[in-house]
């Protein structure tokens, strides 16, 4: 069953990135390789403006499940943007075992 709005059917192969906590998104990034993240980036990046045009039609608090999944997909794009655009590796260079947990985020 489709997880995303029909207009974004081309992004369905990437819905395992629809994760609702920052820590989960970060964990998936650390568990992924660069090829996987590059493929995800190449698919979703060109559609940022389409996605935002679609999502901005709704009140944030009233997003349907598929629209919310689309937003989560783009939160994950934020999470992997540094590895793809700057680091060329999943981990933060020189960050070693350092760990910073997100303990609070806005409800949506």
């Amino acid at each position: 069953m489709a997880k995303l709005p029909a207009d974004f059917a081309d992004l369905e192969p990437f819905t395992d990135w629809c994760l609702d906590t920052e820590d989960a998104r970060f964990a998936k990034r650390y568990a992924s390789n660069m090829d996987e993240m590059q493929a995800f980036y190449d698919a979703v990046f060109p559609r940022i403006q389409d996605a935002l045009t679609y999502l901005d039609k709704f009140e944030l608090e009233e997003l349907s499940e598929d629209a919310f999944n689309l937003l989560l997909l783009y939160y994950s794009l934020c999470t992997i943007s540094f590895p793809v655009e700057a680091w060329r590796q999943p981990r933060v260079p020189d960050a070693g075992a350092a760990h910073i947990s997100n303990v609070l985020a806005p409800a949506v």
Binding site: C78, G96, I100, P106
Partner: protein, 427 residues
């Protein structure tokens, strides 16, 4: 060559005659005896920020705060007649009163009253003991004598502070002084889209403040965050602040920005260009903000961010594009602390604004991870005592001031407390 003017004395450091320009010792960050002094002289005596009023929206809202350096846990609660702080300890036999599953983990929620898990003693939101299990078994017990032990609490601009010094008389506003007075009126309470982060850091608490109180490191440690061309330029240019100010134990550094939006879009990464956001936050202000006098004190048009260090362990960073960030450093040992960061944005009006905040928060975390890890490397090498004197430059003035202030609090405590002995960092 200087890019920005310095005071007439020739340097920011020499502008403040109490500050020396000599090499600095970091014994105060590695001596266990000194840490014991700091716990009592600093964390037992000064005003400590524990949160904001928005965390307690209605009567009965509460949260607990573990303050290991003061060997204490505190309940902060909104009672009918205002916000109160109590030691989180049952008056019967000393059990921790409010906790869930793990006694050392902080909790929050809403309550009508607090009931001890051990023998069901109950306290109302004002701390009064209202119920004692099998009260008649006690010996003329007067419940009125067994209220929760209160902790001094005062609020400044919605920031909740507590003070463990029962005899202290200095008010919060007096303590915070003119730097804070000059921040009053900023729309703190309107920034309700909040992201909070927490990390256990293997370094003395002052070392992380050091890292965030100077930007001398930024073009070097964080050089790969910028696009390559920009990174080369930044490193060549180095770092100079627009302005520094020291007021009593507190201090601030005013820094340039220029990244929000950047002069040349090629300075920033593709996703930042696409979303109009980045390390300095969303490029478009949420609403017009009139800057109070402590912000952008040099009134420079390149202003980007002001970082305030409110002694001992609370920082506020106000960013030009209209949002703010707080840091707290809670020591748990001489070489460990819990680091907390909170990003405060205006409520997003739509998905676009929300996504801009997400990227700003994600970017903060990338930088924070690099800073955090570097600290452990510093702590372990300081502890080797292979080198004991370290030169600090003029852009590191706030570090010099922080360590000097912390040592002065300890020295004063030793002087005024019978039986207290100076630590190796004080001799």
């Amino acid at each position: 060559m200087a890019h920005f003017p310095k005071p007439a004395e020739g340097s920011w450091t020499q502008h403040y005659p109490d500050l020396s320009t000599a090499d600095a010792s970091y014994e105060d960050s590695i001596s266990p005896e000194h840490y014991e002094l700091e716990r009592k002289a600093i964390f037992g005596k000064t005003w400590l920020n524990v949160g904001r009023v928005e965390q307690l929206p209605k009567v009965g809202s509460y949260f607990t705060k573990e303050i290991d350096a003061a060997r204490s846990s505190v309940i902060i609660v909104r009672a009918a007649d205002g916000i109160k702080a109590f030691h989180n300890v049952c008056r019967h036999r000393g059990n921790k009163l409010v906790w869930q599953d793990f006694p050392r983990e902080e909790v929050s929620g809403t309550a009508r009253q607090f009931t001890c898990k051990y023998h069901a003693w109950r306290y109302d939101l004002g701390g009064a003991c209202t119920f004692v299990q099998q009260e008649s078994e006690f010996f003329d017990l007067d419940k009125a004598k067994y209220s929760l032990a209160d902790v001094r609490l005062e609020i400044w601009q919605g920031f909740i502070f507590i003070n463990f010094d029962k005899e202290g008389t200095e008010s919060l506003v007096e303590y915070l002084g003119p730097l804070a007075a000059g921040l009053e009126g900023y729309p703190w309470g309107e920034m309700t889209s909040v992201f909070k982060y927490k990390s256990d850091i293997g370094a003395n608490w002052k070392l992380f403040i050091d890292a965030f109180a100077e930007f001398y490191h930024a073009p070097v440690l964080h050089n790969r965050q910028a696009v390559a061309e920009e990174s080369r330029k930044l490193q060549q240019y180095g770092y100079e602040a627009l302005y520094y100010q020291i007021e009593g134990p507190h201090s601030m550094v005013s820094s340039w920005g220029g990244m929000s939006p950047p002069k040349d879009p090629n300075m920033v990464k593709p996703i930042e260009r696409e979303l109009r956001t980045g390390l300095f936050g969303p490029w478009d202000k949420p609403f017009d903000i009139e800057l109070p006098p402590s912000l952008n004190p040099a009134r420079h048009k390149a202003w980007g961010v002001d970082s305030f260090v409110f002694f001992p362990n609370f920082m506020i960073l106000v960013w030009e594009p209209g949002w703010y960030l707080t840091y707290h450093y809670w020591p748990t040992a001489v070489n460990r602390h819990t680091f907390e960061a909170a990003l405060y944005f205006a409520p997003p009006k739509n998905a676009t604004e929300r996504l801009r905040q997400e990227l700003a928060a994600a970017t903060f975390k990338e930088y924070g991870l690099q800073d955090a890890n570097t600290l452990e490397a510093t702590q372990t090498m300081l502890e080797s005592r292979a080198v004991s004197e370290f030169p600090l430059n003029d852009q590191e003035i706030l570090l010099r001031h922080l360590h000097q202030t912390a040592r002065a609090f300890c020295a004063e405590y030793v002087k005024t407390t019978p039986g207290a002995k100076p630590s190796p960092a004080l001799v």
